[in-house]
């Protein structure tokens, strides 16, 4: 006779956040701040690693916890970057903190952009608004390993000029071999770039080698859908497209149920999905 079920040993508490201290806060645009965070615990400082596309849970005790994509270099040493827009209670409270303040961090969680598929391939990165931060680690990987990639294009759009994040880095990215194309919905008087939505730029894109091209996209769901439609119209196959999805998340560990999207848990199965896996559910209203 045996015990009714085999039970796991005593486990670490996945709800427990590590204390991190704010080393730097960079204003990226209206209400948007990039935090550089360092672990208080020395051991954690050395052991923390993430893969591009993964996210962390930023926790402000007494206020709440939010999932935020990790936006720095994955080889970054000692500090970890998170770009946050003050939108709800928790993100507003985070934005009012100061350098030296502590908060909590859990993670990293979720799936990553499949960089291993990009070897020798052309890469098209399509981002809208705050969809760029979870893709910036990809850009940094391209820069660090430029010879591994074919032609690399970043298509990035936002509503207004001042909402384009990391604007001071675009020239550097261009110099290092990335074709950076930006567009805005509403231009200001000084804007000399594109005006219009992101999918238009995909339609105008140089002819890329279709069967050896990969497209990564993150941004508002409506942008993702139209960007994919344009890419498919340009001859890409759905299997070449990867998207990062977003839903309400409270646990990040597949236990709270909030982030379900059809059969997927965005937190543990995603947030990065090959597009054909989520495409059927994106067609359904209010899923």
């Amino acid at each position: 006779m045996t015990s009714p079920v085999a039970l796991p040993p005593v486990v670490a508490n996945p709800w427990l956040a590590d204390a991190v201290v704010i080393r730097e806060m960079v204003a990226e645009g209206p209400g948007v701040t990039t935090f550089r965070l360092a672990f208080v615990d020395e051991e954690r400082r050395d052991s923390f690693r993430f893969r591009p596309g993964q996210f962390g849970m930023l926790y402000l005790p007494g206020v709440g916890e939010v999932p935020i994509g990790i936006s720095g270099h994955c080889q970054q040493e000692r500090t970890w970057s998170f770009t946050v827009r003050a939108a709800g209670n928790t993100t507003r409270a985070l934005s009012s903190l100061h350098v030296g303040d502590t908060l909590g961090l859990r993670g990293p969680f979720g799936s990553a952009w499949p960089l291993e598929l990009c070897d020798g391939a052309d890469l098209v990165i399509v981002a809208g608004g705050l969809g760029l931060p979870p893709l910036r680690p990809v850009i940094y990987d391209v820069i660090a390993n430029r010879e591994r990639y074919g032609r690399v294009t970043l298509i990035y759009g936002s509503r207004t000029v001042d909402a384009l994040v990391y604007a001071s880095e675009y020239d550097d990215w261009s110099r290092r071999g990335i074709d950076v194309q930006t567009t805005v919905d509403r231009a200001d008087l000084d804007w000399k770039g594109n005006v219009g939505v992101v999918p238009l730029l995909i339609e105008r894109l140089h002819p890329f080698v279709h069967d050896r091209a990969i497209l990564f996209t993150c941004g508002p769901e409506v942008m993702i859908r139209f960007a994919v439609r344009s890419a498919l119209a340009r001859g890409m196959r759905i299997e070449q497209i990867w998207a990062s999805m977003e839903r309400n998340m409270q646990c990040a560990i597949g236990l709270c149920g909030h982030c379900q999207f059809g059969p997927e848990f965005i937190c543990k199965d995603g947030p990065v999905f090959r597009y054909d896996r989520v495409e059927p559910w994106l067609k359904v209203e209010a899923l």
């Binding site: 709800w15 926790y59 206020v63 379900q260 209010a286």
Partner: protein, 374 residues
């Protein structure tokens, strides 16, 4: 869905009815908090009990869509009811639990795990569908990439005394889900109640150990036959059916079916079905601080996909009508659960039918979609 698995041959003993208290005493002696059926607010609920006298002796429940009533029995049966509004979920996955704490110090916030003195529970009166529900929740809380420490601590040390059903409610459909009514495994002991005592099936070493300390007798084939007949009574009374053939594709292939509008016009989005469901696991997490704001507890509370703000994101709610929320619940329970956990999320206990204030019956909803399906 496969039919109920075959029941392996197990050692059985006879426990006279007036010796049942000795089972309570043996469990309590070993430090277990016995949780079992008892009457509260005109319903049979699961609560801390210490004696045979706490059991709902001579009472039964009558159930139907949107209705539950207690009724006296003509005999002194102790387990002569079906299932009530509670399930064992409330003990393994508490409705409210602290998952972490944070204290403000001179060096900033310090986060910690709360001390969790997990109670050592003995569950008395676990039905076959409920054993199945515990196994369903095991997959969520123990077998994913992350293990829930609260559930694991309680589950690890729980002792399970199952009780085979000898009657069924009109809301029961465990035979459709392959989960009952016979308790086939996943217990330490399983009882079948007869008028003068219990056939006790031993399901584990821990169960064997407990039984060794009780005054039990050998069972003869006549008693075993009587027990079999009593259990057959439950099977014979089950009338409700859920056709599970191809149910995943049926539901996920009909997300735009007009029936969702029909059920949405009746559903109150009250969350009752998710609260009584023994497998629903959704929760929300919030911070509770003391008056100084320096001591914070992060609390997990049962949540429901029927709550309006459950899908809140970026200033909006994804599922902003009852149609989409009912659809989420039903398709998750019966279809996408299979993708996620390799099993249906439904065990056929019928609680969601009984406790729905307007008597929505999921078996009827599925049948309607199937009938008008493609």
């Amino acid at each position: 869905m496969s039919p109920a698995t075959e029941v392996p041959e197990r050692v059985c003993r006879w426990l006279a009815k007036d010796a049942l208290q000795s089972l309570f005493d043996a469990l309590i002696d070993r430090g277990y908090a016995v949780i079992g059926p008892t009457i509260d607010q005109d319903a049979i609920v699961y609560d801390r009990i210490t004696s045979v006298d706490d059991l709902p002796r001579g009472w039964t429940d009558t159930q139907g869509p949107g209705t539950y009533r207690l009724a006296p029995r003509e005999d002194d049966a102790l387990f002569g009811y079906v299932v009530g509004p509670h399930s064992w979920k409330r003990f393994l996955f508490p409705p409210l639990a602290a998952v972490a704490t944070a204290d403000r110090t001179d060096e900033g916030w310090r986060m910690a795990s709360p001390t969790d003195d997990a109670p050592k529970y003995a569950f008395l009166g676990v039905r076959a569908c409920e054993l199945a529900a515990i196994r369903v929740q095991d997959r969520t809380f123990l077998e994913g990439p992350y293990v829930d420490p609260i559930y694991a601590a309680r589950r690890r040390q729980a002792f399970i005394v199952a009780v085979n059903c000898t009657q069924a409610a009109p809301t029961c459909f465990c035979t459709s889900m392959g989960t009952g009514p016979r308790c086939s495994g996943g217990f330490d002991l399983a009882l079948t109640e007869l008028s003068t005592g219990f056939v006790v099936e031993i399901g584990s070493d821990a169960g064997s150990d407990i039984v060794a300390g009780l005054e039990t007798e050998e069972v003869d084939s006549q008693i075993l036959t009587e027990a079999e007949t009593a259990r057959q009574g439950a099977i014979d009374q089950i009338t409700r059916r859920l056709d599970t053939e191809g149910i995943r594709d049926l539901l996920l292939g009909n997300l735009d079916h007009p029936r969702w509008n029909d059920v949405a016009a009746r559903c109150l989005s009250c969350t009752n079905c998710t609260m009584v469901c023994p497998t629903c696991f959704c929760s929300s997490v919030k911070d509770v601080a003391d008056l100084t704001g320096d001591h914070v507890e992060r609390q997990r509370q049962w949540d429901s996909c029927f709550n309006f703000d459950f899908s809140y994101m970026n200033g909006g709610v994804v599922r902003n009508d009852i149609r989409s929320r009912y659809r989420q619940w039903l398709t998750h329970k019966l279809a996408s659960w299979i993708d996620q956990f390799g099993t249906s999320g439904c065990v056929g206990c019928g609680r969601c039918i009984t406790w729905c204030p307007v008597g929505i019956d999921l078996t009827e909803e599925v049948a309607a979609i199937r009938e008008a399906g493609p």
